[in-house]
């Protein structure tokens, strides 16, 4: 008999079973569930269920991050409703305005651990694969049901294996590799599936880079995505965790619906053109396209190393277009302040905002005018995503965002990196 994939093992564990296979329908009890500014809407569905109170409030996390600080009275009322609810239901893992984006904060707080299952009312809940957890996005009614009864039915997805080999060149990042995967296989390439990453590239990635891969897999149609956790992940979690865990790894003879391999050693910077994340070309094909705004932030690329990468490019330069920088969390913000990275960004002309989602989904703090193009370090560029349907949005790495900010048009960051030899 064949071995098991990560998804099969993790969901069997979450359902209290000794084994499960792709296609099985299980009732799983997640280790953590979370929601954000949508928690007030979920509360209203919860009230309709007739459930007396949330079960297992210690396993619920709520962040205020999508529109913070509140840009309108309506947003403020929404936040106030959530604060009241959190108090009423004794939800301890509540993170106020300014703490940061749900996925980053929950990772920093080590609220989910390797081998565990986390369900979030957010499509980028695939993110937690960087910790070796099974993360999946769910709808509002499903979250209300989880609050009410603590379990939810899931179909164990088939798995797809993506192997990354080689070491990325300087100025090229795992974001470029993620965009290349989307460009090669399309936005439905991972439909219904759990993606498992493998290959020697993974261990060369810094911790701040790793979430990019599973985060971007939400754009791939994947239910979940996973990176095998290594010592670097365990060391990160050690001072933060509050419970024991057992990491899970796929068996070598597990069954995959599809396999795909990418050698990243000669990869060039990539970019997604408007209005789809799989509309990907090598950056070199579109160098010189004008941009009026550059946005560095989001759960995809708003961590410390992303800010540091941008600072590396920007030192000694002034931006020629607006550069909006939103750190993914207060910890990222603090580290950027203490290390001098933030000073370098501000000296170059950046406008810095409160940790949170910023303009990623068009709520506020950087909505483009219809005739303005934005180059963004985010994960999706669907029409209207940033609040303005006609405004073109390009997706790229923090390096590319920074270089383009200097030039006022799409630019190759490698020309701005110390020690670069012109090709």
């Amino acid at each position: 008999m064949n071995g098991y994939t990560f998804a099969e093992k993790a969901l069997a564990r979450a359902a209290g079973l000794s084994a499960a296979r792709a296609g099985d329908i299980l009732d799983v009890q997640p280790d953590l569930i979370f929601s954000h500014d949508n928690s007030a809407a979920i509360r209203r569905i919860f009230e309709q269920t007739g459930a007396p109170a949330v079960v297992r409030p210690e396993r619920i996390a709520i962040t205020l991050d999508h529109a913070v600080p509140a840009p309108t009275t309506q947003h403020a009322q929404n936040h106030a409703e959530i604060r009241r609810w959190v108090q009423e239901q004794h939800i301890r893992h509540f993170f106020e305005v300014g703490r940061g984006i749900c996925h980053q904060v929950i990772s920093e707080e080590a609220l989910v651990l390797p081998g565990e299952t986390i369900l979030g009312a957010d499509s980028h809940s695939t993110h937690y694969g960087w910790l070796g957890a099974f993360g999946m996005g769910i709808g509002r009614t499903e979250m209300a049901a989880l609050w009410a009864v603590g379990e939810l039915w899931l179909r164990v997805p088939e798995s797809m294996k993506i192997t990354l080999n080689g070491k990325l060149q300087r100025g090229v990042t795992i974001k470029d590799a993620s965009l290349r995967i989307l460009g090669d296989l399309g936005v439905a390439g991972g439909q219904y599936r759990a993606v498992e990453f493998a290959g020697d590239t993974l261990s060369t990635l810094a911790l701040d880079e790793r979430p990019v891969l599973p985060n971007m897999m939400a754009e791939f149609g994947a239910m979940s995505a996973y990176l095998p956790p290594d010592q670097a992940v365990f060391d990160y979690l050690e001072p933060r965790r509050t419970r024991a865990y057992t990491p899970l790894y796929p068996d070598h003879d597990a069954i995959y619906a599809e396999e795909y391999t990418l050698d990243v050693s000669n990869l060039e910077p990539q970019i997604a053109l408007p209005h789809q994340p799989d509309n990907v070309v090598p950056l070199s094909e579109v160098i010189g396209q004008p941009v009026q705004q550059a946005f560095l932030g989001t759960c995809t690329n708003g961590r410390f190393e992303d800010l540091q990468a941008a600072a590396e490019v920007l030192r000694g330069h002034r931006v020629r277009c607006r550069l909006v920088v939103i750190p993914a969390s207060s910890q990222v913000f603090l580290q950027a302040v203490q290390s001098g990275v933030l000073a370098a960004l501000v000296e170059a002309g950046a406008a810095v905002g409160t940790p949170g989602c910023g303009p990623c989904m068009g709520n506020h703090m950087g909505i483009p005018s219809p005739d303005e193009a934005t180059v963004s370090s985010a994960n999706r560029n669907f029409r209207g995503r940033m609040g303005t349907p006609d405004a073109p949005v390009y997706l790229a790495s923090p390096y590319v965002v920074a270089a383009s900010a200097i030039c006022g048009h799409l630019a190759d960051p490698r020309e701005f990196l110390p020690g670069h030899n012109p090709l």
Partner: protein, 165 residues
């Protein structure tokens, strides 16, 4: 055995054209939500749909965002079944949880046209259309139970002894 009129659509229809994102926070009543069903895909749908009509689509119906209104807009319009070659993963879940029956049928959209009728036989797990028989894959008993109970919310309401909303 039930008889249904069909509305036929192609591949990769995403949730934005099933129910435009711009309405997600403003429209609240079932009538309002139903009035905008498929607005950006087929302007004739919302005014022409009759209770009991079903959707027949190609691959990847309902890809994109996880918005539940992309399912409820059709439910409120009276559509009891959506048949597609494949579904977006979150959309399939939302169908079950909102009490709309999602049927995976790889070929049906090739054989029927909008306005024609098909017969659905739940017991025999078959669809009769264009003089042919198409098999309906069975759902697991627990999923079937949610569907037959009208979806996740009514199921919880019964569990917690709440009669009505």
């Amino acid at each position: 055995m039930t008889v249904h009129r069909v509305w036929v659509y192609g591949d990769n229809v995403n949730t934005d054209v099933i129910f435009p994102g711009k309405y997600t926070y403003t429209l609240k009543t079932p009538e309002e939500i139903a009035a905008h069903a498929l607005e950006d895909l087929d302007p004739a749908f919302a005014s022409g749909v009759r209770p009991g009509d079903v959707i027949v689509a190609g691959r990847n119906w309902g890809s994109g965002s996880s918005r539940e209104q992309a399912v409820t807009t059709l439910k409120y319009a009276g559509v009891p079944v959506i048949i597609a070659a494949s579904f977006g993963g979150l959309y399939f879940r939302n169908c079950i949880n909102q009490g709309i029956w999602p049927v995976v049928c790889p070929d049906l959209s090739q054989w029927v046209q909008t306005g024609e009728t098909i017969e659905i036989n739940r017991q025999a797990e078959q669809i009769l259309a264009a003089g042919r028989v198409f098999a309906i894959p069975s759902l697991s008993p627990s999923v079937q139970a949610i569907l037959e109970g009208g979806g996740l919310l009514p199921m919880l309401q019964r569990r917690f002894g709440k009669v009505d909303t």
